[in-house]
Symmetry: D2
Subunit: 357 residues, 4 copies
């Protein structure tokens, strides 16, 4: 007899369903007596005891379905130890639900914040397995997270569409790609989309260098320039500010995001039209790409094996093409950023791509 | 011996190249001695004599290529009779280029504004053929324009992506669809994407009705609502303003567009998170869909026949599945809008879709 | 109180679910007391009383879902009056099910054969509404059927993929497109994919003309040629045979289909490699395209109105952009074929496309 | 001054152009005086001196373009030392072309066979760099080859389309995936597409086990079954035959491929309809996916660095997310097959996927 709980937490992304299907199909094929409880809307469902018993039918036909059949919500890690408005102790409440259902394990799908709470539950004595979900690809301890490749595809599609219109009108275009803290998505989509300039949170930009790169293309007879700019791209001056000062500055900013600010600056110097496109939340949506489906099926199957081995307290990672168990204590709370001096940046710069630095 | 000129004017869109290929392949297959001049960047090329002789190689492999191999630019009709900064009389300049090259005909691809200038050139004695291009589908005299279906596909893709994330997070989402004056694109993409509320320029909305529709869904246990909102959606009060007053109001608006304003209003009343997504210029870009490729091939072939018949001064339209020649004097300057009481709106309302009216 | 039954019959295609959703959402929004019975696997479910009561949940999220939630099967019209292996009178059995459930109306989604049986049920006194489904677009009385545009997209995708590999290897490629009796799908996909030669059931080909067209391209320095060939393409000689003789000949044919035969013939004369690709059943599958979703939503909504008006015995058609009711007695049993002398063929020929005639 | 030659050999695939663009853009950005010669149609161009000087314009806009701007052809390695029909010594001829043009290096894009010839040229004293291209992913020494992920996407699309139609009709469907010698593509597309049974060249199947797997699904109430079958799938008995005996048997086979044979066998035992779909050459075609574009840009950039470092005689590989130079003598002539006992197979089996063994 095996009883597991399952939840998806944080911003949703593609392939959450595929990952859950991987876990449950693998367990169902190997465990005679299996019960799967799905908690609704992330940790909220665990805290407030909102769950439903899932059957194999729930997992049929969801391999290609975006979103999450369990719903999701953001539950900031830093508030987990803070009682809610009714005085409920969230951690205790989660433990109670866990013990009330006599769960053998909790399978938790989510990003960095989710992982920290998963680790907290582990420290509190619960059996947990974490699956690394995020379009940001910023989870430490795994080569890749699911959602990432699907999001790259959508962001690249946007750049591809912009390419034809930019070329027809000799315009400068900025495509703003998701990613406040890390630039993986912008970097990959930027290269895949053939962007000329790529601005990442990890490599503060000098607006003069950005303008220079635009002008260089123009002087070479190339009528248009495409910038892939991460939501969290930051100028060299701003990077010197304290977090507080920067936050204040952002709040005062008239433009809705950094991309609009950069657009203004380029326009001012170069005199060309600069348009901004923001694919936004579409980057989290839609059907998972085949890459993510294979990734999630493998991670899910490996998670099932870990559960059957009663080997808990870990994230199931993909490292060098192999699924591996990484102890949560080793990875929780760490961020995987783009290395400004890493091989991939060097390769991109060699191609003539400007990072504005 | 046949000498034609060709230009693409106004905002670019998908299938411009497919249409030009249709014209030239048809002429090349039927005219022994053909010369095709391509004017660069719309009417600008015609005014300032920037053109190049095109060969069949230029038209090879472009059926699926977005944008326009000739480049495009916006040349407002109302400025056509106004000399440029150097005192050049634009209409005279265009005529001179035309006669200098001894053209038999000018093939002009563009939207409403472009068509008006085409008609002006016709009045000035030039032989012109117009091909109806626009993602807005607002050209009077043809059932459909090219670019429209391709743009629907992209806008619908965006709504599809938003659907999964909206459902996972129980959020209200607004997808802003292109269309300042007419709502065809929003209407089609909204229905195709399964939007719950669709706001069009032709049907001024009452924000209370919009909020009511959101709340109705919520009360029926549907956790999320999706709105497809045209760029030019307008509230009932604003619709009563004069053009000038409205323009002033828009300029003062803090939100970058009407969608953000509506988002604020819904949030205020309903208390739910409301997110806005703006696919923007991606809607004009990328490869044309098969529907547009067939449409353009047919329009192009029909244009070629009109040229060979020396039957000028018309737009090549698609009416009831057949290509037809429509005299420019009959259609130029007219706009095809969504009929608020038309069959399609009635059908959509019957489904329970709210138009906020 | 309104009780309707619903079934999908014949080869499945995209947008069946979208159409049923259109009907049910429209009825649910306008009828206080609605019961919808779904018959499983087409007429089979009606004959043998296999059905289930459907709720609004069944119709949620299926707008974009391919296939049919009811299942389908082929029940040849000519066997409808023939008792089954157990002596069951099918027509009587269907009537019994209908009356037992006290249905107000049967909504029947299907192609030509399905429509004939629908008409038979009408003659037998049942209230029926037919919705025109088929990737073949061969239903008389409507400009377009649903599934058609989605299938065009898939077949065109295949031709697009073949284009790059054909060009790289200077090969002749045949893409076999679905369509045994009519060539609409091949014609549209062929034009959209830029095929050089298109062979349709309606225009018997002369293999010498086909070879000539391949050689012409080769002599013009174009290294590759792409043929779009309908499953039911037929040579001029074979077209002269009686149905029986032709069937015999096909059975004796070594090649799996006519495309392989044509490939052999081209290879023999031209000496070039000729490859055949058969997308096959993929053309019926996958998510419906936005065009079909709008079409089905409109047809479904119009069907709902007809039901509420108790105006039965008709097909809901799309004619000149408007939904219309067409009496089944006017359209049942008739086929809409490609007119070999029609405008679209003339336009394609003008472009230099060969039809092998 | 740097002079390089470039050629693409073997079956074409997606991202060849992207890879060449990566090499040339990187060199152009770093080398003052660069000449790039493109050899036409693979080694043929090198043997017979068919080449053209390429300019940066040739590499503009080709990142997303499928196929190869240089053309390709198959030149079997085993015939390289055999004179052609006119007595031309191919290896000598290639060396002559190389020296005549005073090339610094030959950049060779291709699969296993191509790599062997590249190694031969290295042994003959030429400077060569090899880039690993193939949809088969079977090149030893690199984690992944380009074209692989794009082909997975296309094959998975086909399975996705088949899924809806299989489910609607309760049918057994076989999708035949490219791969005569190795099963990577079938394995990945099969998992991504949710296939129930996957048959690979590396795991000979027992038809009884295959039939059993179909029947098991049926007994569990799942109406349809999908098989992903590699072109080179082989039964246990056939795997025991010598190469010669097997070849003979295949030639005698009535069915066009192993899939049709398996279809017959399932049909015979289970009595269900079994349909076969063969996406065929579409799997090599179309635009490269973003994954392949990033991969190729990185490999191309790394190749450029190797050339500037004058570090030749290697393949540029992707190993653990990093580009690396692998000496040709270490990898040429070796094949990377699916390990029947590897982690990925174990994970798939845990999910309940049958490999027919």
């Amino acid at each position: 007899m095996l009883r597991i709980g399952m939840l998806t937490s944080g911003g949703d992304c593609q392939a959450l369903n595929a990952a859950m299907r991987g876990v449950v199909k693998s367990l169902a094929a190997n465990v005679a007596d299996l019960e799967v409880y799905g908690f609704e809307n992330g940790y909220k469902g665990l805290i407030y005891g909102n769950y439903r018993l899932l059957t194999s039918k729930d997992f049929s036909g969801i391999l290609t379905k975006g979103g999450t059949i369990l719903g999701s919500s953001r539950q900031p890690f830093k508030l987990m130890r803070v009682p809610d408005e009714n005085g409920v102790d969230k951690v205790e409440a989660m433990k109670q639900t866990y013990y009330k259902l006599s769960l053998d394990c909790l399978v938790i799908l989510g990003g960095n914040g989710t992982q920290k709470t998963a680790n907290l539950l582990r420290e509190e004595g619960l059996n947990v397995i974490h699956l690394p979900k995020t379009i940001d690809n910023d989870i430490y301890g795994t080569d890749v997270t699911f959602g990432f490749q699907s999001a790259i595809n959508i962001a690249t599609d946007a750049i591809d569409c912009i390419h034809t219109t930019a070329a027809s009108h000799n315009r400068v275009f900025i495509v703003e790609v998701m990613g406040h803290k890390v630039g993986w998505l912008t970097l990959y989509a930027g290269i895949a989309g053939g962007a000329d300039i790529i601005l990442l949170p990890e490599i503060p930009y000098d607006i003069d260098k950005v303008v220079e790169a635009v002008q260089k293309r123009s002087s070479e007879g190339k009528g248009f320039t495409i910038l892939a700019v991460a939501e969290g791209a930051i100028s060299k001056e701003d990077a010197k500010l304290s977090k507080k000062e920067y936050k204040k500055k952002v709040e005062k900013r008239k433009a809705p995001s950094v991309s609009y600010e950069i657009a203004e600056q380029i326009k001012e110097v170069c005199g060309t039209e600069v348009r901004v496109t923001v694919p936004g939340h579409t980057q989290r949506g839609g059907s998972p790409c085949p890459y993510d489906r294979v990734l999630c099926t493998r991670l899910g199957s490996a998670a099932a094996q870990a559960i059957m081995d009663r080997d808990f307290g870990c994230m199931i990672a993909m490292i060098n093409g192999k699924t591996k168990k990484v102890p949560l204590e080793e990875c929780a709370g760490k961020l995987k950023s783009v290395d400004p001096d890493g091989q991939m940046i060097i390769e991109a710069k060699r191609m003539g791509i400007s990072f504005g630095d």
